[in-house]
Symmetry: D2
Subunit: 427 residues, 4 copies
Amino acid sequence: MVNGIGDKTLSPLKVFEDLESSVRSYIRSFPAVFSRAQGSRVWDVDGREYIDFIAGAGALNYGHNNPRLKERLVAYIQEDGITHSLDLATSAKAGFLEAFQDVILKPRGMSYKVMFPGPAGTNAVESALKLARKVTGRTTVMAFTNAFHGMTLGSLAATGNRFKRGGAGLPLTNTVIMPYDQYVDGEMDTADYLEQVLDDEGSGIPLPAAIILETVQGEGGVNVARGMWLKKIEKLCRRREIVLIVDDIQVGCGRTGPFFSFEPYGLNPDLVCLSKSLSGYGLPLSVTLIRPEMDIWDPGEHNGTFRGQDLAFLTATEALAYWRTDALTQGTLDNAERVRTVLQDIADAYPSLEATVRGRGLIQGLALGRAGMGAKISQAAFQRGLMAETSGPEGQVLKLLPPLTIDLATLDQGLQILRESVVSVLA
Amino acid sequence: MVNGIGDKTLSPLKVFEDLESSVRSYIRSFPAVFSRAQGSRVWDVDGREYIDFIAGAGALNYGHNNPRLKERLVAYIQEDGITHSLDLATSAKAGFLEAFQDVILKPRGMSYKVMFPGPAGTNAVESALKLARKVTGRTTVMAFTNAFHGMTLGSLAATGNRFKRGGAGLPLTNTVIMPYDQYVDGEMDTADYLEQVLDDEGSGIPLPAAIILETVQGEGGVNVARGMWLKKIEKLCRRREIVLIVDDIQVGCGRTGPFFSFEPYGLNPDLVCLSKSLSGYGLPLSVTLIRPEMDIWDPGEHNGTFRGQDLAFLTATEALAYWRTDALTQGTLDNAERVRTVLQDIADAYPSLEATVRGRGLIQGLALGRAGMGAKISQAAFQRGLMAETSGPEGQVLKLLPPLTIDLATLDQGLQILRESVVSVLA
Amino acid sequence: MVNGIGDKTLSPLKVFEDLESSVRSYIRSFPAVFSRAQGSRVWDVDGREYIDFIAGAGALNYGHNNPRLKERLVAYIQEDGITHSLDLATSAKAGFLEAFQDVILKPRGMSYKVMFPGPAGTNAVESALKLARKVTGRTTVMAFTNAFHGMTLGSLAATGNRFKRGGAGLPLTNTVIMPYDQYVDGEMDTADYLEQVLDDEGSGIPLPAAIILETVQGEGGVNVARGMWLKKIEKLCRRREIVLIVDDIQVGCGRTGPFFSFEPYGLNPDLVCLSKSLSGYGLPLSVTLIRPEMDIWDPGEHNGTFRGQDLAFLTATEALAYWRTDALTQGTLDNAERVRTVLQDIADAYPSLEATVRGRGLIQGLALGRAGMGAKISQAAFQRGLMAETSGPEGQVLKLLPPLTIDLATLDQGLQILRESVVSVLA
Amino acid sequence: MVNGIGDKTLSPLKVFEDLESSVRSYIRSFPAVFSRAQGSRVWDVDGREYIDFIAGAGALNYGHNNPRLKERLVAYIQEDGITHSLDLATSAKAGFLEAFQDVILKPRGMSYKVMFPGPAGTNAVESALKLARKVTGRTTVMAFTNAFHGMTLGSLAATGNRFKRGGAGLPLTNTVIMPYDQYVDGEMDTADYLEQVLDDEGSGIPLPAAIILETVQGEGGVNVARGMWLKKIEKLCRRREIVLIVDDIQVGCGRTGPFFSFEPYGLNPDLVCLSKSLSGYGLPLSVTLIRPEMDIWDPGEHNGTFRGQDLAFLTATEALAYWRTDALTQGTLDNAERVRTVLQDIADAYPSLEATVRGRGLIQGLALGRAGMGAKISQAAFQRGLMAETSGPEGQVLKLLPPLTIDLATLDQGLQILRESVVSVLA
């Protein structure tokens, strides 16, 4: 056993109840103490095994403790490779920059400068918003209903969730929230509405510095934007010199199939935020990709301590090896099809769920018509050895994010547990 | 060699110039590509050795790749200990919570709930500001001239540096900046001024939710607050139910001698932010310590992906072993005395420097009267194999932060290089 | 002649060019120096006569220098009736309060406290926004596209015009601008959209303190809200304890027929702003009407020098005599019909105008399809002795606001000039 | 009797209690219903006479219903001179512009464009703040402790009074409040502190668009800035291209002796706000004076209905006749000396008052050491036929503002009542 706490307390969770802040959240839905993980499976201190369809909320696309990465990581640590380096030059960082250039950017004909804005996704978002404001000299940023961009003040202002916004304790300003694709029922195209508002000198909505969007809103309820809508948004940005920021933190790094979620639509964002699965090993690492002509930062204008995480650079570099072929993309799309089929089966088989299926690649959601149903299914699944969380402002969508590297047997086993959980909840 | 880049380009720095954003900063003052590190020494790809008096800007108090921690870390990784766990319960996290309780809080008679607000220091600050606003229902936060609290929008609003504030690209609001201890020459006590402003119903300054301060302003120029001033601030907070936040990110974890920088003055902050050296191994980890009655967060009201960094929990737990005795504190104070003596010697020996010495424990600064002198000395030192950076809004203070675990010989060697560098610059 | 400037300069307008700020505006469209006015007619210093279809932008509903009011005004001044009285009690103010109660509120079954927030309309709006925020404890206010509420910072934040908003020189915050009735073409009801956004916990739009609206947007292009839309807005306010503010500054005091523009729809706003024609004589006077249970102001919490304008109280009281019968309302509606018929005739007769007619009561607009056409017609009319201005963010709507007391002959004469002007412009 | 309300209700004040908002304020300290006024005297509906040492809070420098102005006003109204003219050119406005140029600006060697920003003082302040932001492209404005600039959101953000600021219902932003002259006891010069903060790149205080100040803080407690302090502020503005705004609304128009309060110090503000006594007859009128090269407004960028108040232009023009000689200035200074002497006598004679005298010209204050004493003296004086109000955030200063045109006998009579009131309160 990695670490023993079981012998100290009757309930192994008591230490968290006693010592950790009430803000803790996942622990409440998945009440076990985990100790070991490999691939798509996790074990708790009592040896119980779980299939992981959460994958670190998208941070573990390559599975837990991916063996390829692990080997390199251990070797580097043992050799006393530098671990923490501020934003000094290191060989690990050079390796990452070169690999990212060679494996990701060049083959896609992309040209971006790479910024290391801090370890978390929210640092990438904050830096992108700052830079967009600097580049344009404008202050307003447009974001979308049900967006999630982070918990620090700048990112939170661009986040849709009212409960989380309330946590700021002050009015969130300089952001205008517009309706996301298909937010309004019926004929209306919300991109057209956005354009009308921008063109109307009396709309009360200033020309923004940037529009920031997720191509799939993971936290917001697995809402998928259509390619034509994304293209419209890009086009209206171009015409007005509005910076287009794609927050690909949750659905980048292959989650939807291709490395970037926006590749299938030929989008060329000005700034791209990556994090979560970037390090490949669950280690904190974020980058902000910057169209070169917008890289007008002065040295040190945005800084921070944890921007030289060499262990993360190392595993990130190794993870990029997955992108030298299209095997992972193909596997993801195949697995996605499998997940989608099962979800649709469930929706069809149990009409009382009032369920619809939504998603792209290996982010798939089962939107449920009845309040609280998502949480019940999630709970039932956990009891049966499957971890799957809910999404959306009122938890109305059951969200499935298996590791991209999951093997077919485990995927099927997880989906089977899900089906049984639905049955048990409906019973 | 850990990673080879030398064979690809004539200049090993070219990869950064070509591929990394212009925001990069340290790399410009210390133009080498580092690959290996151990204790207080770092090596570049060409094998050149440097003594490190920067210590990750305070993130490496226990030295680079501390062997005690390293051994545990490698074992954990090899055993597939869980690496990334959102805010689920894990045995590594339980271990850290228990050790922090047993080794740090209990012996000091402290009672705090521990919040994991995200991996970087700025996440801890943002969470503290949010919570203070929630607890009081007030929106304004008071911070101090030359404070540094971080680069995300909430923290940046409480940061003094005009250049970095400008990076926001919009007006920073809901923060009032007050004069830090001894900011105003002469008789005036700035704590009295602060109290006058709070008591005056016509001052235009609202009653704040919180006062946030560093006991030593590391980035702001190694400005040291006096204990009596800190006590006054605490007292005026208590009388008005203002939340007192100590940002101990740079000078906590033993930097000034004791674990918390405020211990010698008997301060009882309501909220404490820790980060940097907390993980002990340079891995991103932050906590916000919360007076229990203020722990009124709703579950998930502040969240984020990288709040379950088990490798960091593991090394942090191991690092706490240093605090089971007072050896490290004693060593730090002894070494501080040594550093201070040398700095004072230099100041006395070279009056043209117009230098004064300031600091507490192993954060010591040489404030220089002439513009640009700090950068020149830093550069000269680097050429001689010593890394030491400048601080203050115009880089006017040479700042020394050796690892706390530095051995005497290395410390003396570093100080000797510093002295030679001063001489060479003055020549 | 009232005042001679003609003998000093060749151009009587030169004094304004030389001495007045470049911000002056109406003077540019109507380049004459006016000296005398009576009823619906104005004369310039050269004796030229103009029919006035601007009526002080709605401030002269009872015509210029209304004889009934004038007689009382002169008598009061000659008797040394108090002229300026802060917010002391005066007999003139008592007279107004009583008459407003007896003539306006009681007969309509309305119960409002009367606040004197300062002399201009924007003072009424600012006070209403402040009070709504105080009553609810919320900070956000919802306003609408193409709204106009004033030039001071609080009112300006609720105003749609981008050019005027830009005048603030800083980001305007704490206001969310929503689409006005029929703003979006097609099926979508913008009240339904507003409700969706309020109900969606992920919409990023906070529950507002207030919704502020004009029933007809006078400055914004003579946009008329439908009664059913207004009722929907009222209903959604009631359900969520959102304060409903009607800004009736331009279209209240009988402009649309009834005293309040919202009477025909049975609306019961929580707060109502009146100004412009309230004094009846073009003197600055504003009131904020407050639902009694919301009158939670502390004494002096909002104050100002010019809240005791007794000359204005006096003429305002006298003007209320018009409302003891329904003659004015009936006359307004009859005249409105006449104006509308002529405008529709013009629109029909000259399809190249691509014109549509819009308005309620004696605020009627001719919306023109071609840019700059409105300004040309306005200019041609002025040369022929008719004053009529344009409206809308790009001046695309010719707006007609004759005094409500205009006699039929003058109205017809004005409309005839308008028709001739259209012909001349199209020629 | 001008208007009879006495016969309708037992208490003539009941109509206000029943119908007016609770925000009413002066009426509570001076509970009578006033009907007639002439010069320095006011009469209530019961025929009781009062000497007026409030003078419309500075709006009646030339006394109530000044006969010179009255005659012109009545003639103009009887001739149907235009009363309300938006910002069209009128002969009355031309007359005012020319007289202001000839009588005020030219003789003082001043060059300002005149802007009519709306009828109230707060409109002048809002327009000045907007223009300063536009001219500099900066957003922050510096104002001072205990400043009073108005109740609309922009002006309120620059106002010191916490109670009034609270009325906003939201955080007031983009303003930094600095300590006024002599705010901090002892040696410290607050202008030096301001300069230190501006020069320190780490102060957290941005370079402001403007510094706005009153030379005497009338509402804030009759705080008088020293000339040398004002000159320092002006100098530090010049060096940094900060716009210097003098809000001379209360103490301009001769209140301190000269027309502008800043004349004795040779100050050259960039923008000057005038209102209150400008119209001379208590009618709402404000101007913003703009250094010509800063007059970069676009036409209509700031607008409003009540910017063409011809009755006010007419009386304002007539009032300027007082400034063709220096008789009024001399009389004011002589009377000021008389007031000061009596106040000092009172302070000396009754040490238990712990009183000090402060003021300039005919704004004089008796600062009282004991809470509530000011209100008691004010009340006692009112019972004896003298109106005098309190000032300062807690009403601790009795403020005397007699009309500048007061005759000696009335002045002495008023001061005698004041002395008796003090005696009666102390008894």
